[in-house]
């Protein structure tokens, strides 16, 4: 669905993304992880067509991205930036309605139905008449996510949606992303929570200094050596109900970074 081949992106004459190659298909949740400043958000913006590429090819549904009109791209792919804010005191349902702008001129009934569905999906239906600038950070994050869902996109590119959410809503978010993928959508999500990435993502891409240094299933990719290289940390590992459990444990070079012995699988 979305294919990137050897993307190079520079901002202010500095190379931020280097030779990034990846695919995002329908039916999968792909986690993009890496340390701060490793180029994750810039890669996501480039994939969404928001910043020009220095070189490389970006294909959406087999055609170069710039062969589609901006509106066609917006109807297929939704992008949610990190810590999205609304400048004006709009109510939550009006913010979510902005997600229907690529479909303007269409059925109002469908618009209304999709807005309610999106708000319901993020457990924010009760917030619909509240002014978004007066919501808490987590509530606002959910409304912004509903905005991205309102267009019923085939592909979702989301930058750190879990930041600011409480554990209940973090789990709800990740379960929802998996649900969206099961409805034949592709989700690329930037995550800092390695445990969430290990448990909920089908594939993980690891970025380090602008390059994708590893890609594959969490079990294959999130190895001790890779975590040491990309994040400079060790991790405690286990399994629970067939899902990997991964907890960042210590920083390399500190006493807490001693290798953590693996534990037996937790009882079912």
């Amino acid at each position: 669905m979305l294919q990137a081949q050897q993307l190079n992106v520079s901002l202010a004459h500095r190379r931020i993304v280097h030779e990034a190659t990846l695919t995002l298909g329908r039916g999968e949740v792909v986690g993009l992880i890496g340390a701060n400043g490793s180029g994750k958000s810039t890669l996501l913006r480039a994939l969404a067509g928001l910043i020009p590429l220095e070189s490389g090819r970006l294909l959406l549904s087999g055609k170069p991205l710039d062969a589609h009109t901006p509106r066609q791209i917006a109807q297929t792919m939704a992008y949610l930036p990190q810590a999205a804010e609304c400048q004006w005191p709009l109510t939550a349902d009006r913010v979510v309605a902005l997600g229907r702008l690529p479909f303007r001129g269409g059925s109002r009934e469908l618009d209304r139905a999709q807005i309610s569905k999106a708000l319901d999906a993020v457990d924010a239906l009760h917030l619909r008449d509240r002014v978004v600038t007066e919501l808490s950070g987590g509530e606002r994050a959910r409304v912004m996510l509903a905005r991205a869902l309102a267009g019923d996109p085939a592909l979702l590119l989301i930058d750190e949606p879990a930041a600011g959410l409480d554990p209940y809503h973090q789990l709800q978010l990740m379960e929802m992303l998996r649900q969206l993928a099961s409805e034949s959508r592709g989700v690329l999500v930037v995550l800092h929570d390695l445990g969430m990435a290990a448990r909920f993502c089908g594939r993980v891409l690891v970025m380090h200094e602008g390059e994708i240094i590893a890609a594959g299933t969490p079990d294959d990719v999130l190895t001790d050596s890779l975590l040491a290289q990309a994040h400079g940390i060790t991790a405690f590992r286990s399994r629970c109900r067939q899902s990997p459990v991964l907890v960042p444990w210590g920083r390399i070079g500190t006493p807490q970074a001693q290798p953590v012995p693996p534990v037996a699988a937790a009882p079912r």
């Binding site: 901006p70 609304c86 709009l90």
Partner: protein, 331 residues
């Protein structure tokens, strides 16, 4: 259109109609409605016909056109720059128009072409905006655009002061100062004809940006991901505001605070929606300037009170309130 917005538009429209009619009737000599009707049809007392067609109608039309374009440009620029404290002159349009008009006057063109000042104003407005856009760069950030606007406004202000400093005689200096204060008095239908096409084209360009401004509420990246070409939107808003405000300032002089105040006052009635704010701000701006002009005409003063002074006298306290509210919270 939902009920509250329809109600607001209807109220503003009705107030405009009533105020416009009242504005044609009152003045140094009151004209009863029946005689006004006859004069409008080209019948009755020739003096009343002259007062209507050459004095009151141009003044009314200019108040509506200039007030409307200032209100609309204020709402549009606030939406584009995502800042409730922006006024249409921020990008140097008003200061450029002022300098252009003053320069035309100083060069003695006023004696050669009777509409030298408005024409000079239009040229000045465009030159200033062009300079701002060049300084900000093609893909310059909003911050660069604002900084360039502030810089060009300061430069134009400095040159206007220089022209005043070297004005050939005190009367010429007074003339320039009075022009800069902003007034709707002594304007003819030719002034209206000069500003009308530019204001209509500029306003149409701005009114078509509602959806893009809505999308921009969530920032430039989100607006682009929603399918809007934000560089084009920016260009369109700047061009539209320059056309409308440049033409308005050129025929009336600098009238401040309408573009700042009107969108701010009306925003709460459209639930913050920057797209819905555009048409109501147009009506609101026209109404505010019409009322300010009625104050100028009805309050007896020894010397003519300039309408720009009235809008500033009302506007400055509103601006202070706005700052206090913004300081308390985001809104």
């Amino acid at each position: 259109m939902n009920r509250s917005r329809l109600g607001l538009t209807t109220v503003l429209g009705l107030l405009l109609l009533i105020s416009s009619f009242y504005s044609l009737c009152v003045g140094n000599a009151a004209i009863p409605p029946r005689q006004l009707w006859e004069a409008a049809l080209g019948q009755g007392d020739p003096l009343i016909r002259m007062v209507l067609w050459e004095i009151r109608l141009p003044r009314l039309l200019l108040a509506l056109l200039v007030g409307g374009s200032l209100g609309l440009a204020g709402a549009t620029m606030q939406g584009l720059l995502r800042n409730p404290l922006v006024e249409p002159g921020l990008l140097g349009v008003s200061a450029g128009a002022g300098l252009g008009a003053v320069a035309a006057f100083y060069c003695g063109l006023g004696g050669v072409i009777s509409y030298a000042m408005p024409l000079g104003g239009i040229v000045g407005a465009f030159a200033a905006v062009l300079l701002v856009c060049t300084l900000a760069g093609r893909n310059g950030s909003i911050q660069n655009l604002i900084l360039a606007g502030v810089a060009v406004t300061s430069v134009c202000g400095a040159f206007t002061s220089l022209v005043l400093n070297f004005s050939p005689n005190p009367y010429a200096g007074m003339e320039i100062v009075f022009w800069l204060l902003g007034s709707l008095a002594n304007r003819s239908l030719t002034h209206v004809g000069l500003a009308f096409p530019l204001i209509v084209v500029g306003s149409a360009m701005m009114l078509g940006c509602g959806n893009a401004l809505r999308a921009l509420s969530l920032g430039e990246d989100t607006a682009r991901s929603l399918g809007f070409r934000t560089e084009r939107v920016r260009l369109r808003v700047i061009a539209g505001a320059s056309l409308a405000v440049g033409a308005a300032v050129s025929v009336t002089g600098c009238i401040g605070f309408v573009g700042l105040m009107v969108p701010h006052l009306l925003r709460q009635f459209v639930k913050g929606d920057p797209g819905h704010l555009l048409p109501v701000s147009t009506l609101g701006g026209a109404l505010l300037l019409l009322w300010a002009d009625l104050i100028v005409r009805l309050v007896p003063t020894g010397q003519e009170l300039k309408v720009g002074v009235v809008t500033a006298l009302v506007g400055a306290p509103v601006f202070i309130l706005l700052l206090i509210r913004t300081r308390r919270s985001l809104f």
